[in-house]
Subunit: 221 residues, 4 copies
Amino acid sequence: MSEPSKTPPTSKDVRPGPGRKRSEASRLAILSATRELIGELGYERLSIGGIASRAGVGKDTIYRWWPSKGMVVADAVLEEAQPFYLAPPARSGSVDQDVRAWVHALARDFVDPVRAGRIRAVTAAASEDPATAERLYERFTQVQRTGLIDRLRLAAEAGEVRPDADFGAVVDAILGSLMYWVTARRADLSIASVDSLLDVLLRGLRVAPESEPEPADGRKA
Amino acid sequence: MSEPSKTPPTSKDVRPGPGRKRSEASRLAILSATRELIGELGYERLSIGGIASRAGVGKDTIYRWWPSKGMVVADAVLEEAQPFYLAPPARSGSVDQDVRAWVHALARDFVDPVRAGRIRAVTAAASEDPATAERLYERFTQVQRTGLIDRLRLAAEAGEVRPDADFGAVVDAILGSLMYWVTARRADLSIASVDSLLDVLLRGLRVAPESEPEPADGRKA
Amino acid sequence: MSEPSKTPPTSKDVRPGPGRKRSEASRLAILSATRELIGELGYERLSIGGIASRAGVGKDTIYRWWPSKGMVVADAVLEEAQPFYLAPPARSGSVDQDVRAWVHALARDFVDPVRAGRIRAVTAAASEDPATAERLYERFTQVQRTGLIDRLRLAAEAGEVRPDADFGAVVDAILGSLMYWVTARRADLSIASVDSLLDVLLRGLRVAPESEPEPADGRKA
Amino acid sequence: MSEPSKTPPTSKDVRPGPGRKRSEASRLAILSATRELIGELGYERLSIGGIASRAGVGKDTIYRWWPSKGMVVADAVLEEAQPFYLAPPARSGSVDQDVRAWVHALARDFVDPVRAGRIRAVTAAASEDPATAERLYERFTQVQRTGLIDRLRLAAEAGEVRPDADFGAVVDAILGSLMYWVTARRADLSIASVDSLLDVLLRGLRVAPESEPEPADGRKA
DNA sequence: GACTAACCGAGACGGTACGTCTTGTCTTGGG
DNA sequence: CCCAAGACAAGACGTACCGTCTCGGTTAGTC
């Protein structure tokens, strides 16, 4: 979940060669110090020097393995990310049940102040460095997005939801809402609101009970 | 749209007193230079000194009137924000038409690279300074949010949409999606996706055609 | 002792014309505030803004009448300089008595901590601004120097001291010693040391008791 | 003549420890740039940033090793101070010859415009910062003072000069005069004046040729 | 008694320098 | 070759003053 990002020793391309091996202790100390300092200072006031000093590590050891502060933060947060929401939703029941259960689990995590702080840190990191954004998207967002989309597609095949909806847009609305609540609105992310949004979305996705003639009016494209 | 932020001369509480008056030319030069530099450098590489130098202004003149880089950016962007999406959606037709028209207009703005860059800048500013976040929320997000919510409430009174939905959550899903697309996903915000999301949401909000028995299953709270 | 230095209303060249007259109250407040702040902060940490604020005066009122911080300090100190050492030494006795009495009076002033602080301030002012140095030399040092030299010349005419000595050099040694003690050596200026120096100098100036054959050896030029 | 002033590695108290060593090249570049800028701008208009920029060095490298502008100037000037006047006067002849030779050498240095400029700079530095004054006194003035006093004391033992004079006061008059000429009087320091002062002082120090009864009159203490 | 010019307080202005902080690189000595 | 320590060049930070420039408001004269 956080191998060297700069020179990833992908399998065999690096000869074991002479020289001291990378210190796992240092790597862990750096990521752990980073998580601590995110909690104490937030992303902006975090500094590479501060992490090195807290971790009892030379600054160069950080620069040797990570290209930027954002990447360190990304790895630090990813390392402790809960595994359950990197797994796709269950397929054992109705879409409603499965999606709701999965989103609830994620939302509960977002509600925790420590986790929310890390989400904000990681968001700030992404917003100032495209490479970090890319990494986070690949390793975090995309996994969730794909999992949810696939579950919806399965439901479509099962005839539970309309097959012609843009599932990507729907999933983005769910994940975007959560992000929006912990970053932009900084407010009370309530489980009730999440639930209510899911109500509307799932109802909107449901196959028309009869021959409802299309949304009809107001469509642009 | 960008009166002094530090000592807002709220109506009459500031006597015209002695001393040179604030230079409107400087204020405009600062905000204009800020917008230019956001486009050229992005928020992170923007510096107070750089703004001052580009604007032909002393750094103190910036620090005298704004408490942080974020606030300068907020004012710079707010000053040129289009007025139409600070106005509420029209009430002249179906909810579908009115909401769609309003969201389209906003989305078209988000698609413009210059505007999108400013949105990202303003988002970064908000994510590193709560005071800036607060200002932006008050002056930008809240206005839009309230406008949309009120339009939905009106529709509820008119029997167009279900009155028991959490309109706040729905609106946050719309605005959150847009934010999410220009910041986190950094991807192609397509009008088609926006439209598709609106389809699902509006359909989900529509009053049940008959005695649909409630979402029923999977509800948590 | 401290008329306007910038635009000295030398007699008649300025028509009395209409317009408000210079405020004597402001002038006094400025010089007085300057003396206070010299005591509290020393010359280096003194600022024009600080003087203006302490004096309850606009900065421009200072800049209108004085060209530099050094000049304000010069005037502030000159205004309260004791008159006795701006008068020449008495001519009522032996050179020894007259010179010693005059130098004692001056030295006693230099020993006072407040006065010594002002001397140091004025010295710093002179060392950073030639115009201030010039003004202080004219109004302070030169007066003393000329007075002492004249007294020694009178003694030479009276046959009390050797007429071929360089009285300027001797007087500079006296005044230079005092300056040196309060500025460079920052040490204990003791009246005893002054006395001892005067012993040596006056003895060295005394006419040779008999046909002493000249210093003879070691002369360079 | 200019080891680190902040953390002087006095012999063994600093373990050689890990970490990059202080760059001698930077140290020399800083002191050399300082001397250049003293000549071009004078002490007052000298700035740390200017020194750093001229030396091709970061500001921090200056602040790391010197506590103030004054100290940098002190080290810069001390480093190129001529060694001869930090050595005591010769003891190879009459006091007259030895003292005169030594003072001439010093005075010739003071006459040189570049050296005089440095003396003025160092004086200004001392006058605005006690710590700098202390350092300069220890490393420069005190050495000269002690050397001269010792030579006079030796002469006293040899019966060349009166043993009861305050040699400190006499030496201060010599050194003070020189300082006074280059700083306060800003005037023509002429070798002739120095010589004349030495005439008077040395004559005044000479043992009374016969039973001269004491200065007698006018003595205070 | 109005006019008018200069002075005054206040304080904003464009600048320069400050001393601190952080960045990313380089160097040293030890493992 | 890795690592901790830490010096280095670069440059942004926010503060303090500089000396200049409006602002209204206040005094004197002169019409």
